[in-house]
Amino acid sequence: MSEKPEESGYWAANIRIVTWCLVIWATVSFGFGILLRPLLSGIPVGGTDLGFWFAQQGSILVFLALIFFYAWRMNRLDREFGVDEQ
């Protein structure tokens, strides 16, 4: 084991990425899909509104993008801090 992840800043960088990803995760599902739907009701999508689209399809597509982004970003972060698997 090299130096502790806390001291190197690796863990703090990870927490920052996770936090931002979870903010987006909550915004598209609980936000656009449920709580903020009235605000999006003016934007029509195929016979209904954008909030309905986010609740039934959009959020799932964003979830996919988030997981792949996180995997790519973290695997790069591992190498930057030299903590990747060799």
Binding site: M1, W25, I34, G47, T48, A55, Q56, S59, I60, E85
Partner: protein, 595 residues
């Protein structure tokens, strides 16, 4: 060839395929049984995870719940996919680095406490058995239709098949069987959806067809659907009617529960590297999303087709006649599903027609009085039959109907078998071998695993005779229990060095007990009808229904664990070092079981 023979052929052929693959792949060593995913590409592992995870709830039940409720049940779609974000970001890579095989092992080691491991075993068993009840409900529907017997007989036959299937052995461990099951399941789900989407909108992609134009009327499909359900007195399909607090908590509960279910988490223990654990979660969601993006289209289009069948001249015209239902081949599905007891109609006003409308809506009273209707005459339509009946309703060819029967059974059986194996390994490996009788022989361990499996399926079948809801609703209760008990302990074990043994045990027990009691107060003790004190229509706490309470249970779990840890001693240094090491990928060896 009649439909019954075609169904038999499809189901038989798919089973032969799984068994063939199991025998072919079985030649490997016993360690392959435990490390199912090792050396397997993340894409393949993702596909197997998707098969393991998508059950009767996703396949048979979910689209039906969306069809009859509309937007308000979007929670299932967001909840059962959003959980993978939590899994990928908060648990999977760290649990892989930890390098053990079961969830109770991680909890026992991280919280340096055999008691914590025992409590985790109990949480796991309660959540998994509840989950199996939901699967049995789905299996009962599928076998009932496919063998043309009553739902209860179908359930009992299904129990025997699931038991044989799970005992048959390491099938769950054989990743390639699950890959085959995924292929059967996704083909069976999408082919009818493509046909129906083409019929209604001309668009071959159901997910796009949902937002496309309805060819017969020239209006957008969802607008047309809103209009016809409104004219029959039902709630508009795309509108928000549900209580917002409950809908939010329900979605959250399903998300946290997804990330807390032992048989899904187990998959990430055994991928080759930490980096692969991150990719695997993404690939699993790709394969899950193929079904989840299609499901809302299946629901909306089926609702449109069903309404059209009952009102062939439009909602303002005459309803379908009893004679047509009994003789027209387009209505043959109603005659066959009637045999299962899950579909029923009654010509209450004796006019020779079946009026399907919402008789509870006062706005319909005037039209009903004028036309001489005396109530909704479609007296019984179990929402769980929708996906399986869908190809028949749309008059698709016989082989498509056979295919969907095979797909529904693949979904239910793969998950039920996976859960039974998780239960039996928790009992024999974590509880007996790990705690009570450490010196037991391999043979005795295997025997106790089989007994645990038989007991679990007996309990699940018995409780499944009075299911607390439709398959997906029962499964939602299981997710609530997993959310309230297992997920918080795992997350705190990784993200906090301060949470200690006492805190974790107190937190898990609080989450589990409060959630289970809340469920029993609303659904009846052990789901026995009539023993409930409250109903989900008028719940105990604000507007929170029993299916949504898992999120609150999880919050209580976190709060209690942190509070108790604050006032008791910090974990010893070696445990804090363990947490440090779990947080970085470097040094991850192969996963190892203490066998």
């Amino acid at each position: 060839m009649d439909q019954f023979t075609i169904n038999l052929l499809f189901v038989g052929a798919s089973f032969a395929l799984y068994i063939g693959i199991a025998i072919w792949a079985r030649a490997g060593s016993t360690s392959e049984f435990y490390a199912a995913g090792r050396g397997v590409h993340p894409v393949t592992n993702g596909m197997a995870t998707a098969a393991d995870w998508m059950s009767a709830a996703s396949f048979i039940s979910m689209a039906g719940l969306i069809a009859f409720v509309g937007y308000d049940n979007s929670s299932y779609l967001m909840g059962w996919t959003g959980g993978y974000v939590l899994l990928a970001l908060l648990l999977a890579p760290y649990l892989r680095k930890f390098g053990k095989f079961t969830v109770p092992e991680f909890i026992g080691d991280r919280f340096y406490s055999p008691t914590a491991r025992m409590v985790a075993v109990i949480c796991l068993i309660v959540a998994s058995v509840t989950y199996v009840i939901g699967q049995m409900t789905g299996v009962g529907v599928a076998f009932g239709r496919f063998l043309e017997v009553s739902n209860t007989t179908g359930l009992l036959i299904g129990a025997v098949v699931v038991f044989a299937y799970a005992v048959f052995g390491g099938m769950k461990g054989v990743t390639y069987t699950q890959v085959a099951q995924y292929c059967v399941l996704i083909t069976a789900y999408t082919i009818p959806a493509i046909f129906i989407s083409l019929q209604l909108t001309g668009n071959p992609v159901p997910a796009l067809g949902l937002f496309a134009e309805h060819q017969a009327s020239g209006e957008p499909l969802l607008m047309k659907l809103d209009q016809i359900v409104r004219e029959l007195g039902f709630a508009e399909y795309t509108a928000h009617h549900a209580d917002t607090l409950n809908m939010t908590l329900f979605t959250l509960s399903l998300m946290i529960g997804t990330a807390g279910l032992p048989h899904v988490i187990m998959r990430f223990f055994t991928v080759p590297r930490v980096a692969d654990a991150r990719w695997s979660a993404g690939w699993a969601l790709v394969f899950i999303a193929l079904l989840y993006l299609t499901a809302p289209a299946v629901g909306a289009m089926a609702r449109l087709n069903i309404t059209d069948q009952f009102w062939p001249q439009g909602t303002q015209g005459e309803a379908v006649s009893v004679e047509t239902i009994e003789t027209d081949p387009a209505y043959a599905w109603m005659m066959t599903w009637q045999k299962t007891g899950l579909l029923g109609w009654e010509d209450k006003n004796g006019d020779g027609r079946i009026q399907y409308y919402n008789d509870a809506n006062p706005a319909m009273a005037e039209r009903a009085a004028e036309a001489g209707w005396t109530g909704n005459e479609l007296t019984r339509f179990n929402q769980d039959i929708l996906v399986l009946a869908n190809p028949e309703i749309a008059n698709l060819p016989g082989w498509v109907i056979g295919l969907i029967a095979a797909g529904g059974l693949a979904a239910a059986l793969s998950t039920a078998a996976g859960l039974l194996l998780a239960i039996s390994s928790a009992v024999s490996h974590d509880l007996l071998k790990g705690q009570l009788t450490p010196n037991m022989s391999e043979k005795a361990e295997l025997l106790s695993a089989r007994i645990a499996m038989a007991a679990a399926i007996a309990v699940a079948t018995w409780l499944g005779l009075n299911p607390p809801g439709f398959a997906a609703q029962t499964v939602a209760l299981a997710f609530g229990i997993a959310a309230a008990s297992i997920f918080p302990a795992l997350m705190m074990g990784i993200f906090s060095k301060r949470v200690n043994n006492l805190g974790a045990v107190a937190g898990m027990l609080t989450g589990l007990i409060v959630t289970v009691v809340y469920i029993f107060l609303h659904k009846g003790w052990f789901f026995v009808p009539g023993t409930n004190t409250f109903t989900d229509a008028d719940p105990l706490f604000l507007t929170v229904q029993s299916t949504s309470f898992g999120a609150i249970g999880a919050i209580l779990n976190f709060a209690v664990a942190i509070a108790v840890s604050r006032v008791t001693a910090a974990p010893p240094q070696e445990i804090q070092d363990l947490v440090e090491s779990v947080r970085v990928p470097r040094g991850a060896g192969a996963a190892a079981a203490d066998h």
